[in-house]
């Protein structure tokens, strides 16, 4: 009872501090707009007539009043495809990064906290996974389980696990010998409590940076997956696949790759602004 009240007040406090950060609010605003765009995509642009309907006579047209972002190699409207593609890409980006962060982060935290043999075993297993080419891992997962979106996310997520393990481990190692950890231990807190309540909140910076940047990486990996024919199947739109299909038209019709690329940039810009703000808001030292 007591702790839950404390938790809520802590969250409220973080939120208040976040609200004071203009850049973070800008990032949040962009994200909210994008999410709304994804939710109401059908209202803005009809799927059957604008996203998948082809018009070969008007292929590779540059931006115009009719087609804001131009048309692709099938004469489809790129704006509509980016809008509908955000449904897939945002989900892929966020979920697959969460998968890597949760699995890799926990493993790394334990490795860093306990050190010694635990560290050695976990990190050597991570070394093994680091060496398996992510494209091979993805191909196998997708070939074995199917091209459903969930497996694509799993494939991308799993290949990011070792990265987070190493980053979180390093962060934990750098703070675990500081006084506040000692004092938590002295009052008899359990190890998981120390890790998740004391250590992790104090070493969020590199984790947040990595997580917000990796969303771009995850969306780009769907581009390389779709290049070998895995990932989202045509005619469904998805940013990564749009990028890779525009590759051979780079010199004549740059807009095909430019706009999905910009969509990715704006997404991670928003995430980074929000991430920076979140880091400051979470930093216990910045409490007034």
């Amino acid at each position: 009872m007591n702790t839950s009240v404390k938790k809520r007040s802590m969250a409220a406090e973080v939120w208040q501090r976040l609200c004071r950060n203009k850049m973070a609010m800008l990032g949040l605003g962009i994200l909210v707009i994008m999410i709304l765009g994804a939710i109401f995509a059908d209202v803005i642009a009809d799927y059957d007539t604008m996203v998948v309907a082809q018009d070969m006579k008007n292929r590779l047209q540059g931006p115009s009043a009719e087609h804001w972002f131009g048309t692709d190699e099938f004469g489809r409207d790129i704006f509509a495809r980016i809008l509908h593609g955000s449904r897939v890409s945002l989900v892929v980006g966020l979920i697959s990064v969460s998968v890597s962060l949760i699995i890799g982060g926990s493993l790394g935290a334990f490795a860093g906290f306990y050190g010694g043999r635990v560290d050695n075993v976990i990190m050597r297993i991570m070394d093994i996974f680091l060496a398996v080419p992510s494209i091979l891992l993805a191909m196998t997962i997708v070939a074995a389980l199917g091209t459903d979106l969930i497996y694509v996310m799993l494939a991308i997520g799993v290949s990011g696990v070792p990265t987070y393990a190493r980053i979180v481990r390093a962060a934990v190692m750098s703070v675990k010998d500081q006084e506040f950890v000692e004092s938590a231990r002295a009052i008899g807190a359990s190890s998981p409590t120390i890790i998740f309540r004391e250590i992790l909140p104090n070493c969020m910076a590199p984790i947040i940076v990595q997580a917000t940047l990796s969303v771009a990486g995850a969306i780009l990996s769907t581009a390389s997956l779709s290049f070998i024919g895995l990932g989202v199947q045509p005619p469904a739109p998805e940013w990564g696949a749009m990028l890779s299909s525009g590759r051979s038209y780079l010199r004549d019709a740059m807009h095909i790759t430019l706009f999905p690329g910009l969509a990715i940039v704006i997404t991670i810009l928003a995430l980074n602004l929000l991430g920076d703000g979140l880091r400051d808001a979470l930093d216990p030292r910045l409490k007034q």
Partner: protein, 309 residues
């Protein structure tokens, strides 16, 4: 310390065993027949069967694995299914080029990104900070092939400063691929440096140092930087790994004779010995880089040193 290094180098053995086991079974689980893939769509089934027989693919997977490991113990990486040549030679003729590209890509990234990261952190929310952030994000979100082709069009086709590809024009042929490869890493290292510098700058001992009247530059360079380095070094180590493994597209765009294209083609051809060879070489590289990173932790933060007895 010596003991620790030796212990870690010995740990390479289980890592290689684990990697080869994992990859071997992944390869044998994934659908597709190497013999069919090598001979192509047009080859008659009899030839495919003959090749399967020659490659020993009709034996149970466990037998194949045992045979492979037996050879590996003698330092033999086997022969590529596709070319029939020893995998060791195939890798030895390509890996140096990839390593060279990755090394200079890393140098390029580190030399630029750490100063930029520090400046951004010390002048948080300034114009410099914002510009560097936007560039960093562009760097992370720009696909390698896009940047690479743009650089070729600008500097090779129009300005004619550098060759469009290949590795036979000395340092000139390195410039564009290094920039292409290094940009993504640069972004990551810049952001990490900035944010862990910010973290450190707020710590009590920095305030104390400043309060004691130590000059700003000295505080940054002596005290803050060293303590901010752990996450940065970690990211550099990880990025080096992704440079080795992720050079595929850059190598393809610049016709760079590295291992990336070879690995992807081997994966597609289900050429298990070739894939295993590459993966084993990668795992040795990653393990050594990670060992260096762990040793650097001890160097940066003496408290961590105590573990490495």
């Amino acid at each position: 310390m010596h003991k620790y290094v030796i212990k870690r180098l010995l740990m390479l053995i289980p890592v290689i065993l684990g990697v080869s086991f994992l990859v071997f079974f992944i390869m044998s689980l994934s659908p597709g027949d190497p013999a069919r893939t090598i001979l192509g769509e047009n080859a008659p089934q009899e030839s495919v069967d003959a090749l399967r027989d020659e490659l020993g693919l009709n034996d149970p997977v466990v037998v194949q694995y045992a045979r492979y490991m037996g050879d590996l113990l003698h330092g033999d990486l086997g022969e590529s299914y596709k070319s029939g040549r020893p995998v060791f030679g195939e890798i030895a003729s390509r890996f140096p080029a990839t390593l060279k590209l990755a090394f200079w890509g890393m140098v390029f990234a580190v030399v630029l990104s750490i100063p930029i990261g520090i400046i951004s952190a010390t002048k948080q929310y300034s114009i410099t900070d914002s510009i560097s952030m936007v560039f960093a994000l562009l760097g992370v979100a720009t696909p390698n092939f896009w940047l690479g082709l743009m650089l070729i069009i600008a500097f090779s086709l129009h300005l004619r400063w550098f060759p469009s590809g290949g590795a036979d024009a000395g340092w000139k042929s390195l410039v564009l691929p290094v920039i292409t490869l290094g940009t993504g890493c640069m972004a990551n290292i810049t952001r990490t440096t900035r944010s862990s510098m910010l973290e450190v700058i707020r710590q009590d001992y920095i305030r104390t140092a400043k309060a004691k009247g130590v000059s700003h530059n000295k505080v940054i360079n002596r005290h803050a930087l060293k303590n901010a380095l752990i996450p940065v070094v970690t990211v550099i180590g990880l990025q080096f790994g992704s440079l080795l493994g992720g050079a595929v597209l850059t190598e393809a765009v610049f016709a760079w004779p590295g291992i990336g294209t070879f690995l992807v083609n081997s994966i597609k051809a289900k050429d298990t010995p070739a894939v295993l060879g590459c993966v084993i070489v990668f795992s040795i590289c990653f393990s050594i880089v990670n060992l260096c990173v762990d040793l650097l932790y001890a160097y940066i933060d003496p408290r961590i040193k105590s573990k490495y007895k």
